[in-house]
């Protein structure tokens, strides 16, 4: 790295600080809010000095929300469970379907292969709202409304193109000759896929899977329209905190903290794989 003058160093420091504050402030603020009551949150001027309380978390975990108008049942823990189940199942299904498809697209150029791959990618261009109305109709006819199966199916719109396109790139980076060398040494096409292609693309598949998981986890609009309360994930479940007697800011903040924790942990864990995945070039000899 080239040396910097003191002035450059200072400017760089300021720029970095601004960026960090810009991105971290909402998260830190929400984290602080989650330990406050509605009164301390809404006082003017706002202050970072308060007596922390765990009431918000307690309410979420017990499922009893006490408001001025009485006690409300909330299904937050169930929503959290739904989020985990829907995201994991969607990504698992997308991997089972997407990885072999990515391999096929990477290794075999057949008539229309580019068109099919592009069509799958185009699902990511279309705004979800565009397809929601017809989808709602179809789901009602098919009896898929408010089922986990239906939601996981729709989540493939999010996960499948992502996994397909990322993993395809990783497969294309593996020299086909490595696989040929394995096949000519007396192995079938399928065992070559399992023993050579999959392990070599492993870090890429892991990275794509984690990315798809985060996208699935953060999805809001599909679940809002296509599922009712008992099947909804946390992103939609948080709406329950907008109650007749006002918005429960403290509980919302606590719910957000709880719901971003899994994705945050995964993202931190995934960093390793992303770096490993990107240094795959060593395969090329």
């Amino acid at each position: 790295m080239e040396t910097m003058s003191p002035l450059e160093r200072i400017l760089r420091g300021i720029a970095l600080t601004l960026v960090v504050i810009f991105f971290m402030f909402p998260i830190v603020w929400i984290f602080l809010m989650s330990f406050q009551t509605n009164e301390t949150i809404l006082r003017i001027p706002p202050s970072v000095i308060f007596t922390p309380t765990l009431d918000n978390y307690a309410a979420l975990i017990t499922g009893k929300l006490t408001t001025a108008a009485g006690t409300l049942d909330i299904a937050f823990m169930r929503n959290l469970g739904n989020s985990v189940f829907l995201s994991v199942a969607s990504v698992a299904l997308a991997l089972v379907l997407g990885v072999p498809a990515a391999y096929a697209f990477a290794r075999h150029k057949f008539r229309g292969s580019e068109d099919i791959a592009f069509t799958l990618l185009s699902f990511r261009f279309a705004p979800p709202l565009l397809v929601l109305l017809p989808l709602t109709q179809y789901f009602q006819w098919l009896g898929l409304s408010n089922t986990y199966f239906g939601l996981i199916w729709v989540y493939q719109l999010i996960c499948l193109p992502l996994i397909l396109w990322i993993v395809r790139g990783y497969f294309e980076d593996i020299s086909a000759d490595v696989e040929y060398a394995y096949r000519i040494a007396g192995h079938s096409w399928f065992s070559t896929f399992r023993k050579i292609a999959l392990p070599l693309a492993g870090p890429g598949i892991a990275a794509a899977g984690l990315l798809a998981f985060i996208f699935a986890w953060n999805n809001f609009v599909f679940a809002l329209v296509l599922a009712s309360a008992d099947k909804q994930p946390v992103t939609v479940g948080a709406l329950a905190f907008v109650t007749a007697s006002g918005i429960q800011y403290g509980q919302i903040a606590a719910a957000i903290v709880l719901s971003i924790t899994p994705t945050l942990a995964l993202a931190l864990y995934a960093q390793r794989y992303l770096v490993e995945g990107l240094s795959l070039g060593a395969v090329k000899g």
Partner: protein, 374 residues
């Protein structure tokens, strides 16, 4: 007893739709005997690697048949063909050490670990990679990877060994040593090998027969000696040989006792009718236009020869390359001694009739080599 290891019969290869795609290999037919080493020699894109990949089973055959021994294999997957291959891009398995990479090819053969280790050690010694057996492919040089890849192919006991540019990344000295050792190894075990190369020295040193390819067409398939002495056409003549053969277009005319080749700039070469056999004379005089070829080693300097002017005089340490302006073109001569010729100095050039290769000016096919018909 059938001693044919491989026979390729009328094979076509199209990339894209058959008959409309890129026609990479055109009606290729050749037979390889057991225990032979064959070199597929040609420039980039001549179809040699496509041919090798069709034999291995990585590229579908568009038309025609490929047989290993007596069984047709063109529709079988690679796993069922029993061929070994060394890849130009090495293609070692990154998670395995060099030792595992080489020994890996023997896994399927169910040999005991001790036998595998012994075989790996002996091939590693042959290829001078004993000291890197414990290392991973990503931590060794290209030349070492190439030798490991070669070892992985040679260690197998396959019906046919395919070697795609097996020594392209090695230093010249090592290449010369390994050529000899590999040839000995293959011959000793009676293996059959097909080598793809664009390096004619390698082809000459290793191969029993060379298949020269160009534009997807097999130009000539013969021993290195025959290819050098009796090139089947103008392409083979100019492609094989270093420095390349000198070629000049010429008109042919005959008088009672002589044959005259008229070159550009009014230069003409006169020969006595007795310099050529009767059939050659007839064949030559039937044509008006021919192409004359002569190897640089065969060009002689002589006071009574045709005049040319020295344009380049290079001493290469063991031989002199002289390029002379001659008949509107360039004539290259190779001499074994250091010659002191000034640039621009006139020299007499003599082409012995026995060293002349005559080609048809339209088809490029050889008409005669020296006194004999092609």
């Amino acid at each position: 007893m059938n001693d044919t290891a491989l026979s390729i019969d009328n094979v076509d290869k199209f990339y894209g739709p058959v008959d409309y795609g890129v026609h990479a290999v055109k009606r290729l037919s050749m037979e390889v005997k057991k225990g032979e080493i064959i070199a597929l020699l040609g420039s980039s894109g001549c179809g040699k690697t496509s041919t090798l990949r069709m034999i291995a089973g990585f590229e579908p055959v568009s038309r025609g048949t490929i047989s290993l021994g007596s069984r047709q294999v063109q529709t079988l997957p690679p796993v069922r063909r029993n061929v070994a291959m060394a890849f130009e891009g090495y293609s070692l398995y990154p998670p395995l050490t060099v030792r595992e990479n080489i020994g890996f090819a023997l896994k399927a053969s169910k040999l005991s670990q001790a036998v595998v280790d012994e075989k790996v050690a002996s091939i590693a010694k042959l290829l001078e990679i004993e000291d890197i057996l414990g290392r991973y492919p990503s931590s060794i040089s290209g030349g070492q990877q190439q030798r490991a890849s070669l070892g992985r192919a040679l260690i197998r006991d396959a019906a046919l060994h395919l070697l795609d540019e097996p020594m392209g990344q090695l230093e010249p000295q090592l290449r010369a040593v390994l050529r000899g050792r590999i040839k000995h190894y293959i011959k000793e075990r009676g293996l059959t090998a097909i080598l793809v190369t664009h390096d004619q020295t390698e082809a000459n040193a290793l191969a029993d027969r060379i298949a020269v390819m160009e534009g997807g067409v097999l130009q000539q398939f013969d021993t290195p000696k025959k290819i050098k002495e009796r090139p089947a056409n103008l392409f083979t003549g100019t492609f094989v040989g270093e420095p390349p053969m000198n070629v000049f277009e010429a008109s042919v005319s005959g008088s009672g006792t002589g044959i005259r080749f008229g070159l550009k700039d009014g230069v003409h070469l006169d020969y006595h009718t007795s310099d050529f056999s009767h059939p050659v004379r007839e064949a030559l005089l039937k044509r008006q236009k021919v192409v004359l070829g002569v190897r640089p080693y065969a060009v002689r300097r002589s006071a009574d020869g045709v005049t040319g002017r020295v344009a380049v005089n290079q001493w290469l340490g063991d031989q002199t390359h002289i390029a002379a302006d001659f008949a509107g073109g360039t004539m290259v001569l190779v001499e074994h001694d250091r010659t002191s010729l000034e640039i621009g100095q006139p020299i007499g050039i003599r082409l012995e009739p026995s060293s002349l290769h005559v080609f048809d000016s339209e088809s490029g096919n050889a008409i005669s080599h020296g006194e004999e018909l092609a």
